[in-house]
C-alpha cells in the first residue's frame, strides 16, 4: 500500500515538470541592449547623454513588436518607446500632479469630478511625441517646436453607474480628455486564498 502511495506521489511530482517545459507565449520581456536596434540606442544616448544602463524591454502585440527603454534621471522615471526598427515613438516622464500647470490641473479635475463619484490618482506621465530630430532637440536643447505633449494618467475611478476600476486615460496638453481604457489587475487567487 505504501509503495503504491509513493508511486502516486512521484507521478504527481512529475506532472508539473512536464507543464514547466511547455512552450512560452510572450507579451513583454526584458532584453539585453544588444538585441535592440542600433537606431534606438543611438537616439537614446544622443538625446539623454548622461544616462547609465537603461533597462530594455521588448513588447509584443498583435501587429508586431516594439522596444522600450526605462531609466531614472534627475529624480524622474523615464520610459522611451521605439518601434521595431528602432525609430523613436514617444517619451514618457513620470511627474507629480502639482507639477502640472494650474489651468491644466483644473481641466483634469473637472473631467474626473464630472465622470466619477470618487477618484484617486495612481500615476501621471507627461508624454512627448514627434519626429526623431525634433524630439532629440527637445530633450538636449529644449526646443519645443513640433512636439506633441499629452498626459497619460492612471487612476482609480468609480463611474456614476459602474464599479470602481483602475483607468489609464490620455489627456491633451490642456488637460482635455482624449481616451481611456480599463487596467485589468491580474487575478491573484494564489495570493488571496
Amino acid at each position: 500500500m505504501h509503495n503504491v502511495r509513493k508511486l502516486i506521489l512521484v507521478l504527481v511530482c512529475l506532472i508539473p515538470v512536464l507543464c514547466f517545459s511547455q512552450e512560452k507565449i510572450e507579451r513583454e520581456k526584458r532584453v539585453d541592449e544588444k538585441a535592440v536596434p542600433k537606431a534606438a540606442i543611438e537616439w537614446l544616448y544622443d538625446a539623454f547623454e548622461e544616462i547609465k544602463k537603461p533597462k530594455w524591454y521588448q513588447e509584443f502585440f498583435e501587429s508586431g513588436y516594439s522596444f522600450e527603454a526605462k531609466f531614472f534621471k534627475d529624480g524622474r522615471y523615464f520610459s522611451v518607446e521605439f518601434d521595431s526598427l528602432g525609430i523613436i515613438q514617444d517619451v514618457e516622464i513620470e511627474i507629480p500632479f502639482d507639477e502640472i500647470q494650474p489651468e491644466v490641473q483644473k481641466n483634469l479635475t473637472a473631467y474626473w469630478e464630472e465622470t466619477y463619484t470618487d477618484f484617486k490618482l495612481i500615476k501621471i506621465q507627461r508624454q512627448y511625441s514627434g519626429e526623431p530630430d525634433d524630439l532629440e532637440d527637445f530633450f538636449d536643447e529644449n526646443e519645443v517646436e513640433n512636439i506633441l505633449e499629452q498626459y497619460e494618467i492612471e487612476y482609480i475611478g468609480k463611474e456614476k453607474d459602474g464599479d470602481e476600476q483602475i483607468w489609464e486615460a490620455t489627456f491633451d496638453a490642456q488637460g482635455k480628455f482624449i481616451s481611456k481604457r480599463v487596467v485589468i489587475v491580474r487575478i491573484m487567487d494564489n495570493l488571496i486564498f
Partner: protein
C-alpha cells in the same frame, strides 16, 4: 489644488506622486531603476537565503525538538462571478515523510497527517482590495476540525513586483477542545521573472511570511510560516507552483516544533 478628493494612494504607488520625495525614497527609486532589484539580484538573494535555510536543516533533523518533513500538494479552483465576486474551493493534503518523534526505525515513513477542504466567497472592495469569508473542514486522525474564516487582502502594484497583504481572522472548533481564535497577517512579494509584468507562459517567484497569533483557553501562541515559491502562469486560467513551506510554532508553550513541507500547488480560475 482643487483636489480635496485627489488622494494619492501610497499603498498602491508608494514613491510619492504629489508629496515631496525624501532622499530615502529617492534612494530607493534609484536603486530600483538602476536595476539593483532586477532578476539577477533577486535570484542571488533567493539562492543565498535558500542556502542558509538548507544549511541549518541538518540541525533540525538532529535536534530533539519536534520536526516533521513532508509533501503538501494543494489545488484550488476559483470561479469568477459578476462584479468582481468570486467563489473559491481549495483542497490541501499533508503527508509526512519524516517525524523525529516516531519510534526508531519508523521515523522515515509516509503517513497521512491532514487533509483540509475550504471554500471562500470573495468580493472586491476596490480594484486592489479583496474581502472574503470562508469555511473549512479538516480531516486529521483524532483531531477533525471546522473553522470559519474572515479576511481582507490588498495589493500594492509597484514597478517590477507586487506586494500582497492578507489579514485573516479565523475561529476553529476541534472536538474536545475549546474554540481557538487566530489572527494572521501574510505579506507576499510576487516577482515576475521574465520582464516587468507576468505574462502567460512566464515564471514568477513568491516570497511570503505569515505570523499567526492564536488564543485558546486563555493561552497565547505564535506560529510562523515562511514560504518560497517558484510558479508558472501556464495561461490566463492556470498557475502551477512549487514551494518550500517552513512552519515553526510552539514559541510560547512547551514543544517548539518545526514543519517543513515540499509543496506543489495548482490553481485554476475561470
Amino acid at each position: 489644488m482643487e483636489g480635496k478628493r485627489i488622494k494619492v494612494i501610497n499603498q498602491i504607488f508608494p514613491f510619492g506622486l504629489i508629496s515631496n520625495k525624501t532622499s530615502r525614497l529617492q534612494f530607493l527609486e534609484g536603486k530600483i531603476s538602476r536595476g539593483q532589484l532586477n532578476l539577477n539580484s533577486v535570484l542571488k538573494k533567493y539562492i543565498l537565503v535558500s542556502f542558509l535555510f538548507f544549511s541549518f536543516l541538518g540541525k533540525l533533523f538532529a535536534q530533539e525538538q519536534v520536526f516533521f518533513f513532508g509533501f503538501f500538494p494543494e489545488a484550488a479552483v476559483t470561479k469568477s462571478l459578476s462584479n468582481g465576486k468570486k467563489i473559491n474551493f481549495k483542497v490541501e493534503n499533508q503527508e509526512t515523510f519524516f517525524r523525529n518523534t516516531a519510534r526508531e526505525g519508523e521515523k522515515w515513513d509516509v503517513r497521512h497527517y491532514r487533509t483540509d477542504f475550504m471554500g471562500f466567497y470573495s468580493w472586491q472592495a476596490s480594484p486592489v482590495i479583496n474581502l472574503a469569508i470562508g469555511a473549512f473542514h479538516r480531516i486529521q486522525d483524532g483531531a477533525n476540525a471546522n473553522r470559519i474564516i474572515q479576511q481582507m487582502a490588498f495589493l500594492q502594484r509597484l514597478r517590477s513586483l507586487r506586494i500582497a497583504h492578507r489579514i485573516r481572522t479565523d475561529q476553529t472548533a476541534t472536538r474536545g477542545e475549546s474554540l481557538e481564535w487566530r489572527l494572521r497577517y501574510r505579506v507576499a512579494l510576487d516577482i515576475p521573472l521574465d520582464g516587468k509584468t507576468l505574462d502567460p507562459g512566464e515564471n514568477y517567484l513568491v516570497l511570503s511570511n505569515e505570523p499567526i497569533f492564536s488564543l485558546q483557553d486563555g493561552e497565547f501562541e505564535l506560529e510562523n510560516r515562511l514560504v518560497f515559491t517558484l510558479g508558472k502562469l501556464i495561461n490566463e486560467e492556470q498557475k502551477l507552483e512549487y514551494s518550500i513551506d517552513y512552519r515553526t510554532d510552539g514559541f510560547f508553550q512547551e514543544g517548539f516544533r518545526t514543519r517543513l513541507w515540499a509543496k506543489i500547488g495548482y490553481f485554476y480560475n475561470f
